[in-house]
Amino acid sequence: MTPKRRKRVMLISLMVLGIGGATALGLNAFRQNLLFFFSPSQVANGEATTDRAFRLGGMVVDGSLAREDDGLTVRFAVTDTAEVVNVTYTGILPDLFREGQGIVAMGRLDQTGVFKAEEVLAKHDENYMPPEVGEAMKAAQRAKARVEN
């Protein structure tokens, strides 16, 4: 490699390293602001703002879903397995919304600590399988739970 080319290699490596370092520092500084949602534990620790709307993400607790008489308002609880936040929402839920499913809700906490959602999005997981396999896995989990109880 000629000295001229060696110099170019050095310059390019320095440039890429510099940009990489700057980006890493920048992203680290904005870490909190880049979070799409807060988990129930973060809400319990008071990390989420109470004066502004924010997003809450977690799993819908099994058996917590209840509908009001108007047919549109739903109540459910969201958990990250450590803490639980109660949510109310009026509107149409997405296709993937169900108990045990991950969701992200946009809204704010009221004085009683209930999260009033204005928008509910379903968060899909990275698993893909045929319905029969999904059923079999659920059955296995139920059987396991029964043994443990």
């Binding site: 890429v16 799409f36 509910v120 899909h124 990275e126």
Partner: protein, 245 residues
């Protein structure tokens, strides 16, 4: 290795080799895409939660992979341009840019179509979607900068620097789903433990990914040949090629 590098970099040799490769690559692409689409759309079972809607992954996932792969090719070609000033690398970067932009657009559009029924929204500003959108703008920036500079060789060096600056976005796109809470789900196939996708669904996906790679290779070589003729139009070998055709 260096002999190969110089031989492959010689315009004449590349022109002939690419001409012979194109029919094979294009044919393989057509076969894989036909088989992949058939298996993916008709044979693979429906998903336990998403039903039939998940089948969009057979377009969405390969185009998203390609959007990043093409950028890495472009940035690597840019490095070669900056260090060795190889003309062929300039052409590869230049032809790749609109292809990469198309793959990125396809990934964003199909993701949006899937997001509306599944998530309940067309678009969210989470880290994965936003960084992929930035990738689209990087491709646009590359093409705009190239078009703005009259001299092709100067343009190649300027755009090479731009592509190297933007390459930092690629790991951000890939790891965004791990570094931050995003609405977009984590990786399925490249997870270190067993892939969390059923084999009957995975095989068509991999076939489609291979078909997309071959499509890119075919169109890249076709575009590079045309561009090569245009840039080298004053040389003797181009005159010979035209006389023989």
């Amino acid at each position: 290795m260096w002999i190969w590098f110089h031989k492959f970099g010689s315009p004449r040799y590349f022109y002939d080799l690419a001409g012979r490769l194109i029919p094979w690559l294009g044919g393989a692409c057509a076969v894989l895409m036909a088989v992949g689409l058939y298996l993916g759309l008709f044979v693979a079972p429906s998903d336990y939660q998403q039903g039939e809607s998940y089948r969009i992954i057979y377009i969405h996932v390969p185009s998203a992979w390609m959007s990043m792969f093409v950028y890495v090719v472009m940035a690597s070609a840019g490095t070669v341009v900056l260090i060795w000033r190889v003309k062929l690398a300039e052409i590869i970067a230049s032809v790749s840019a609109p292809l990469g932009a198309s793959f990125t657009f396809l990934a964003l559009a199909t993701g949006s179509l899937w997001g509306k029924p599944m998530w309940g929204t067309w678009w969210v500003w989470d880290a994965r979607l936003t960084s992929e959108l930035i990738l689209l703008f990087l491709y646009f920036g590359f093409m705009a900068l190239e078009a703005a500079i009259e001299d092709k060789r100067t343009a190649a060096r300027a755009t090479a620097i731009l592509s190297l600056v933007g390459v930092i976005n690629i790991p951000i796109i890939h790891y965004s789903v791990y570094w931050w809470n995003t609405l977009h789900q984590g990786a399925t196939v490249t997870k270190m433990d067993t892939p969390s996708i059923h084999l009957s669904m995975l095989i068509p996906l991999l076939l489609m990914a291979a078909a997309f790679q071959l499509y890119y290779a075919t169109v890249l070589l076709m575009g590079a040949r045309t561009e090569l003729l245009s840039r080298e139009r004053r040389t003797r070998w181009v005159a010979e090629v035209i006389r023989n055709s």
